[in-house]
Amino acid sequence: MTTRLAVVSVAGVVTVQDGGRPGRMHEGIPPGGALVPELLGAANRALGNPPEAAALEIVGGCTLAAEGGPLLLSLDGAAPRRLLPADAEEIGPGRAGVRYLALRGGLDVPEALGGRGTLLVAALGGFEGRALRRGDRLALGEDAHGEPMEEGVAVELAGEAAIRVLPGPDLERFEADALERLLREEFAVSPASDRVGMRLVGPPLRLRGGERGASLPMLRGAIQVTTGGEAIVLGPDHPTTGGYPVLATVIRADQGRLAARRPGAPVRFRAVSLEEARAAAGGRPPLLVRVASAAELPRCLELRHEVFVRGQSVAPELEIDGLDPACTHFVALAAGELLGTARLRVTDDGHAKAERVAVRAAARGRGVGAALMRALEAEARRRGFGELRLHAQAPVIAFYQRLGYVAEGPLFEEAGIPHRAMRRTLL
């Protein structure tokens, strides 16, 4: 007899979900995927499954049993446990409003349009295209490539921390105070939330005009506001287009954290920059760029030594040119680690000039240089300069061009390295 997972009882909505079926939104098919991908991934990894293998997404609770033989399962990434045919596994509410039960090998439901997850509105995928009921029996897959992890996989969903958003893209369709309200007030998760969207209970957010517009492209995380002023955060099974404007969008790294909150839980929002959002998406601590304190200057000089003297064989006496005391120094930090530095100098003829832009070799390609330049520009602008100048080493001219700098004049040599003068107008 084949080993199967039997559903003994269900109280709530239990569906098969996986990594979703991206790439079909132009057919009107939402991307799907787990409400909380972090928990699905943890449960699967604990069992040696690929992180997006099909598993049960449990909103509410259910009781399950093994049939025909023992099963190895993990709930939300907890240490794998064996479920014997004689035992029933009762799953109630967890810390999060939604739980994931994965089985070693994954659930063997047929792939439909590129995914195994259930899209209820279209009766697509999962187990017969529907939520599970008492008496259903699910087969197991052979989709396990690694060894189970005895201690499980821990997931931190950062409790009630503010959910990070990027404002827009439809800000012009709202009254001026709408974004401010979203970022200042507290909202609560409405019980009328599902995989299509999470409704928020809170102060109304006012639209300008208030008419339903033409259909716009929609995405998971979009905070749509209805004509009545109610906010709905679109979930994985959202319609691919919609007529309500979007006030702000939850960043990818926080979509699971938000979806994990149970009805009634408080929600606050915080606006972040695109750079911070992308760093979070890459699992990296956010980048912080600011003016260096006097105590940080020696660390800046060390980094410059590493980049210019050891990395590019610049003579130490040229690197330390005696002008540092007259400059404003900047640091780029991530989780306290110095990743980059640069200085802003006012030249003898009264121009703002960016100098000694240094990024630690291991941190290149992550936008550190660009973030430093933006900070220097902001400081120069603040002091009333209309442009920022620099001497770019020949190999990085293209980098500065992408940031809006224009090269001028011929190549010249500085510290034994070919350079060109560049400048950018500050508006």
Binding site: A112, A122, S215, L216, A222, A253, A277
Partner: protein, 205 residues
């Protein structure tokens, strides 16, 4: 200033960009070009916008240039599919539509079946195609209160559009007929109608 530099994207969260549709651009052409671009996860083209989503940790490069190129291409280089859908004009809203537009039901049917439609947008539900080309005499705002349930295959009109419901769902459009032998969405094939397709309705007798 180059054409590409005018196509400034608006960030839509950290994992997507949205542009206003370049004037004169062909929706299907934009969709095909952007879907094939490295690093692109999903593309949605509506009548007013283009939206491209991707992994926020690795935003794709060269999208603006690709978009500009596709916008220039226009519809000329693309083969256009034409689909015929047979319709039984037996919808529960047919009489009301006729009364509201001031035409006999027979004339509403004749005008609906005579027009040539184009898929202007796919969205709202899997496989739901917004068909442009409706006879302007048949334009009506959506129903004041949506029907709680419209069955899959319902042929309906609202505003400047006609459409075929892909699934049983609530519906705010005026239900005038039933498609025969046509499914707008199937779990095996996905959406039957694609952006840019030409669609004709034929009266089933």
């Amino acid at each position: 200033m180059s054409e590409a530099s005018l196509l400034v994207p608006t960030p839509f969260g950290d994992g997507a960009w949205r542009w206003p549709r370049p004037p004169e651009s062909d929706a299907a052409q934009l969709l095909a070009a952007l879907r094939g671009h490295p690093g692109v996860r999903d593309v949605v083209v509506t009548e007013g916008h283009v939206c491209v989503s991707f992994d926020p940790a690795q935003p794709p490069r060269g999208l603006v240039e690709r978009l500009a190129e596709a916008a220039r291409a226009g519809a000329a280089e693309r083969a256009i599919r034409e689909l015929w859908i047979r319709v039984r004009y037996d919808g529960p809203d047919l009489e009301e539509v006729a009364a509201r537009v001031g035409l006999p039901p027979e004339e509403v049917v004749a005008r609906h079946a005579a027009a040539s439609y184009r898929v202007a947008l796919v969205g709202f539900l899997p496989g739901f195609a917004y068909l442009r080309g409706l006879d302007p005499r048949l334009e009506l705002p959506r129903r004041a209160s949506p029907r709680p349930r419209v069955t899959a295959g319902a042929v309906a009109i609202a505003g400047p559009y006609s459409g075929v419901y892909p699934l049983d769902s609530p519906g705010g459009w005026h239900w005038i007929g039933t498609a025969v032998g046509f499914r707008a969405f199937s779990p095996a094939e996905g959406a039957a109608l694609r952006l840019g397709d030409r669609v004709r309705f034929e009266r089933a007798t």
